[in-house]
């Protein structure tokens, strides 16, 4: 395992995609305790919507991009309202089944509308690379990393500095009290799902630069995002982003080891994950939640 700067930067780029998906997972998990298995498939679906706007309709890339993000936001909000809210107070497993059902549903819908053939998606970033610190970093990597960071920073700003963000934090912290403050918990949760689907759509569009667009594109990504969220402690947005970067770099480095190769990198990366969790069961950034009895 040699520390190759180029490997690390490309690992950071894909890691920022993992981080974005993980951020979406964490946003939903910390407010409702739901692990959204459909996060990746919803992102794929939204990416296809963007692809249709850009390639089929012929819109400029960034216009299609924004429309896809908007569509994803609406999709997320509607999914929460229609599929999640009816089972919100059911046992954990029931909710998991619903999100698994959504996973199957969006996978099937992507397959239905856009078929299983792999589609190239023109990258908005210049090809070629830039020479930094004795190594070459591709513009694509820089672009992916940059846009992810901007989207995640946007989420951070919404949370910290807006009234809606304050309400979201309130619902997360104490749903009963927030209802008594006049906050409509349902609307805030819908917004949260919308926000996380929007972040997911951005991640999907960016991932399409690196991976080829096909209905199963985000399944591997989702797994790394799970791992990222877990490393981040499941409830820490910052932890999720850092967890994503850690997973990206780890995966890039592990893949470069000759006797592991890209074939087994998935398995090897997860051994790393399990080891981390065995040492720190709450993840690197998780805090043991104190239960006051």
């Amino acid at each position: 395992m040699h520390l190759d700067l180029q490997l690390i930067t490309s690992g950071l780029a894909i890691g920022s995609v993992y981080g974005s998906i993980a951020l979406g997972l964490v946003l939903i998990y910390r407010s409702t305790g739901i692990l959204n298995f459909a996060q990746g498939e919803m992102a794929t679906f939204s990416t296809y919507i963007g692809w249709s706007f850009v390639v089929s309709v012929g819109m400029p890339y960034w216009v299609g991009f924004l429309l896809a993000v908007l569509a994803a936001f609406l999709l997320g909000a509607v999914v929460e309202r229609v599929a999640i809210r009816p089972v919100q107070n059911q046992p954990h497993l029931t909710v998991v089944i619903v999100t698994l059902g959504l996973f199957l549903l969006f996978n099937a819908l992507s397959l239905k509308f856009w078929h299983s053939d792999v589609r190239p998606f023109r990258s908005p970033f210049p090809s070629g690379s830039v020479h930094v610190l004795g190594t070459y970093i591709s513009w694509v990597s820089i672009g992916i990393f940059g846009v992810s960071l901007i989207s995640m920073a946007f989420v951070g700003i919404v949370f910290r500095f807006t009234k809606v963000g304050l309400a979201m934090r309130a619902v997360t912290s104490n749903p009963m009290a927030s209802a008594l403050m006049g906050i409509s918990n349902g609307r805030i949760l819908s917004l949260g799902w919308g926000l996380s689907a929007a972040v997911g759509a951005i991640a999907g569009m960016l991932a399409a630069n690196r991976l080829l667009l096909d209905p199963n594109m985000m399944q591997g990504v989702l797994l790394y995002a799970f791992a990222a969220a877990v490393i981040g402690g499941m409830t820490s947005p910052v932890g999720a982003v850092i967890g994503g970067l850690v997973m990206g770099v780890t995966n890039a480095l592990v893949s470069s080891v000759s006797w592991i190769g890209s074939d087994l990198s998935l398995a090897a990366t997860f051994i790393v994950l399990v080891l981390i969790l065995l040492v720190r069961p709450q993840g690197l950034f998780g805090r043991q939640i104190e239960v006051r009895v």
Binding site: A83, P86, L104, L105, G220, F226, L264, A267, F270, P281
Partner: protein, 414 residues
């Protein structure tokens, strides 16, 4: 076995199931009915009668296993039924892990794969008799399950879901990677066993495989019953409903969690062995995450923590995932063809079932449902909730203390 056969009212459902099947099969529908439909009717008949006769309706679950014996004669739907039973055996195992001890396991499919490979490798490459490989398939999977169960002790809730989905995704990749053992993407072909001498005259290969599966299913059900109806069952229930309280009364958390994982994986491995034997081909990509999710949906749709739920769920999910095209929806609007793909229909149905019948299909028949209240009324029993309403009808008068100069108005009446 004692507890299984204990008390004859409980067997009523079983007998009735057999009768219903026979009636359906031989008298009402001389042409062979789709196998699972008969079993379903048999089950429902068994439950109804068992409940009406104040028996334990859970024992009616054995009912469908009895008529299975007749069904193989039709030869129609035998392969279908075989696969359903295999799904059910594995689902029974998953229910032990997820339903009874609340450990979300998304990797059941990979344990089935493990069992299937054990059987395939031993039978095809080393010439073992297939029946001999079955327990071994279970044991190998159980060993792997033990390992995962020990790991699972460190992980809770979502963390376990992540861990097991990682196993589910990484498992097939690993199996494909070690080509020398697993034959890689080419998979392993298994020669389906011929029925032994005495049976060879009146059973074909499919029917033999079917009977082996039926016997295994019965064994799985009986063992699960004995496990779950006694002390261990109570401990597991306590564990699932309130882990902290269970610990407080001395239930050994770690032991049961690991035990559930090991036994649950054993059934998965056994199902895998049966899968290899009856399908005749084993390939790693059959055992991925989607396959594992299927078992989770089986136990949830059927009804968590119920033995019969695993079977009912297996029937429903198997039929949904194979025949759903016929209920797929297709139409044209303004000349544009609109259709919902079968997988989407499956997914939507799954979500609807979970939303509208959160306790699964078995839950519809369970104590608190409207259905059971109906049967109670048919039996002349009374409804508890009306009692509450009547009990509150008599309200004592409210004492009003209006005038401060009258310190004892009506309070003396108390």
């Amino acid at each position: 076995m004692r507890s299984v056969l204990h008390g004859h009212p409980r067997l009523v459902g079983l007998v009735i199931s057999a009768l219903v099947t026979w009636l359906l099969n031989e008298v009402l529908f001389p042409t062979p009915l789709n196998g699972y439909l008969v079993v379903l009717f048999a089950y429902v008949g068994g439950v109804v009668v068992a409940r009406l006769s104040r028996g334990d309706h859970r024992y009616a679950a054995l009912g469908p296993l009895v008529p299975l014996v007749f069904l193989a004669q039709n030869s129609i739907g035998v392969t279908e039924l075989t696969q359903i039973l295999i799904l059910a055996i594995a689902a029974l195992g998953l229910d032990l892990i997820t339903g009874w001890t609340g450990q979300l396991n998304l990797a059941q499919g990979i344990f089935i794969g493990l069992g299937a490979y054990v059987t395939a490798i031993l039978a095809s490459k080393h010439g073992w008799p297939i029946l001999l490989t079955l327990p071994l398939a279970g044991l190998v999977a159980a060993a792997a399950g033990l390992l995962l169960g020990v790991l699972a002790l460190r992980f809770d809730g979502v963390y376990l879901a992540v861990l097991t989905s990682a196993v589910a995704l990484a498992g097939p990749v690993l199996l494909l990677h070690y080509k020398s053992i697993t034959n890689g993407v080419n998979g392993i072909i298994v020669n389906q066993p011929q029925p032994p001498g005495a049976f060879a005259d009146w059973l074909d290969t499919d029917q033999w495989g079917y009977y082996v599966t039926v016997v295994m299913a019965i064994i799985a059900v009986c063992i699960s019953w004995n496990l779950l109806s006694g002390r261990i069952g109570r401990a597991l229930r306590a564990l699932r409903d309130s882990p902290i309280a269970a610990k407080g009364i001395g239930v050994d958390l770690t032991r049961y969690k690991v035990l559930a994982f090991a036994v649950g994986s054993f059934w998965a491995g056994l199902a895998g062995g049966l899968y290899a034997m009856t399908i005749g081909f084993v390939s790693a990509d059959s055992f991925g995450l989607f396959y594992s999710i299927q078992f989770l949906t089986i136990i949830v749709v059927g009804g968590l923590s119920t033995i019969s739920g695993a079977f009912v769920g297996a029937v429903v999910i198997y039929e949904l995932s194979t025949n759903v095209q016929t209920i797929g929806f297709a139409t044209t609007v303004n000349g544009v063809a609109l259709s919902i793909p079968q997988a989407a229909v499956y997914a939507i149905l799954l979500i609807l079932v979970v939303i509208f019948a959160p306790k699964g299909i078995i839950g519809i028949f369970s104590d608190k449902s409207d259905w059971s209240r109906l049967t109670q009324r048919l039996r002349g029993g009374h409804n508890r909730s009306t009692d509450v309403v009547q009990a509150q009808a008599d309200r004592p008068p409210i004492v009003r203390l209006d005038a401060p100069e009258d310190p004892h108005p009506a309070i003396t009446s108390y």
